[in-house]
């Protein structure tokens, strides 16, 4: 960590949807485009910034990601890559969805990217019945519609009878 940042020692407070407050160093917060824009405008760092859509557990994860990337920026890319893949390993689908939503809301491109990729990897080569289970999606097709859409895409799921 650069010493100038230590000296500035600027911190801001983020408040999760369930009321927990997180004290975050400014350079970590800057990983988020949303927070960056807020800081650039008149928003004072003394204020508590509410994040009404993100719960504490998710926010902790997000900030863990930001801290790693802020501290490691310009250092080894390989190390970050292995951090990224370890970071999402064994995470359940619900937590992943929370994370992708948070990354989207806070505009953290890198996190959004790896989380979306992780979700995509999970359903890769899976039959659509299994995808329904993974995503807890109801089948909202009428039987006729489903027959039509299946016919149209039959070539693609031939691999999963």
């Amino acid at each position: 960590m650069a010493s100038s940042i230590e000296n500035n020692n600027e911190k801001l407070t983020l408040k999760s949807s369930d009321g927990e407050e997180f004290l975050v160093e400014k350079h970590v917060a800057l990983q988020s485009t949303l927070l960056q824009n807020m800081l650039d405008s008149d928003c004072s760092s003394a204020d508590v910034i509410p994040l009404p859509k993100i719960d504490a557990r998710t926010l902790a994860l997000v900030l863990g990601y930001c801290k790693k990337h802020a501290d490691a920026s310009s250092s080894k890319q390989g190390e970050l890559n292995s951090f990224d893949s370890e970071f999402l390993k064994d995470m359940d689908m619900g937590a992943l969805f929370n994370l992708v939503l948070a990354a989207n809301f806070m505009e953290i491109k890198g996190l959004l990217d790896i989380a979306a990729q992780k979700i995509a990897d999970t359903i890769k080569d899976k039959p659509h019945q299994e995808v329904r289970e993974i995503f807890h999606v109801e089948n909202d097709y009428t039987p006729e519609e489903e027959a039509a859409v299946r016919e149209e895409n039959r070539w693609a799921f031939e691999g999963f009878p």
């Binding site: 999760s16 689908m93 939503l101």
Partner: protein
Amino acid sequence: MNKRAANGGGGGGGEGCGLLERLPNSIINEILGKLELETLCSAACVSRTLRSSASQVLSSLTTLDLSSFSPDVQTLEHILHRCSALKRVTVDCLRLGDSSVRSFLGEQIEELNLLKGSSLSYQVLFSIGRKCPNLRFVFNLVQSLCIKIRGSELDASGFRSSVLSVPNTVKVLKLQPLLIEDAIGFINDLPYGRNALNDSFDLSIPFYPLSPRFTLQKLSLVVDVISDELTISISNFVPLLVELDLEDRPCSEPQLPKDLTNSGLQRLGSCQHLIALSLIRSKLNCQVYFKAVNDMGMFLLSESCKGLQAVRLGGFSKVSDAGFAAILHSCRNLKKFEVRNASLISDLAFLNGALPSLVDMKLWSCSLITSESVNELASSSDLEVLDLSGCRSIADSCLSRVTSLHRLTTLNIGGSDITDGGLAIIGRGNSPITHLCLSCCKRVTDKGIALLFSGGGKIREKLLALDVGYIPGISDKAIFTIAEFAPSVTELCIRYCYSVTDASLEILAAERRFEDGNKLVLRRLDLCSCIGLSVKSYELLKKPFFSGLKWLGVGRTQLTSKGMAIFTEIREERPWLTLCLGGCEMGCHDGWQFHRADCYQEGLS
């Protein structure tokens, strides 16, 4: 950072229903955009939301690659009608006709790859010229050889006018096959050349200012005979070429002057921008070589083309070590080097003097090459592809060096003197090999295959394609090993393995899951001439067996003797499976071997 233990509130996992409904469309699109085409289309069946997102992703796609299977007319329509922004298209045309191809031509197309176009006619060329004025990059129409053999309807003038309607902006042109007269006529007729020349060839004609209108950079032709006349035409009329790829397939021994000589080769030196050169005389139709080219030709070429980065030379039987070494030593940027059917090339070509740092090295059927050369070549740590197919003097001793290459992904030692001990070395190796060919390695047995996957090396998890064809020592045991221990193999060739029986097919057909949840999903399987398979085994080709299979070669097996009916049944059930009864190489290769998906008669007769 102030971290406190999460209190479990605000839904981690297991909230129950409707995970997907929480995501805005933009994120769903982001996720679906990361899927490959197959999973994307399959995901459309999940729900209405996913279907509309999948449609949005498809409609914004600019690149579509349908080369992994042979779509039929309807499948292509289903996919293409949802894609409205395509600029780069690659399609396997094995089962498509002219009208299907025309249906997606349009002004927005910049790059077009039509593979295996055996059912397409030259009329398609005309349509492409008319409908794709913005075509810029690849124009790759691999025509089937049969068109020339069967097609008297294609007179030269008809061909020329259709080619000439190809837009001037095309930078890459690949056509095959052509008669040499067509090829020369065509090159001479290029818009660039027209202003430059009125009458016949005259070697003394000076170069005219280069026309900016026609800037062909890559030319690929398959002709009946490569001759000096062709290379002279090329050097005169398309001197800006960056890549040149010529192949011929003579039906009889070429006679001078209709053959390539040293001076014809030298003429190519005037293509100053050339970085990739491929000259292949194929033995497809008869045993022929470039007999009028010797070391002198290679010296002349290497002197004038020092910028070459990729060189492929096939059928130069009179060129010796000195000639090949000249290329290796003067082209210092050489990354790819390929020599085929050169009976004189030996270890000496590689042992004297420093080699360029090659990435891709192929030596086909060069019988004098031994492990010593390979050890020398393996000193280039950049090597990714090493293909020594048919080099029968290569033995186990070079393998420990080879399998320490940390970038090597393709290793072909087909037809070599490798033994089971060699496979044990590969099995322990650290190379991330994804493609391994052991075809025709007569000394390999079931035991070797077991050693390959039990050595703890990288091959077990990395291997995608394995060829153990033409090996008498391969039996069901080896296939069991593969089915059990090679989880990522998607392409398997066991052609001419006579000892393989129905038991192998059974274990390959069944769906198997490995501990990590992955399944063995074979995409392509070559069973050609597996005469140990009984007629009954065709039951295993029906659903639900072999789910995901895209290509199956069953030529010259007992299955084909049973008659058409069973194949019609299988084909109706799985329209996107290409069943090859003609004995083609994996995936029907270039498609030049005449073969239509609906032409079962071909294989049966």
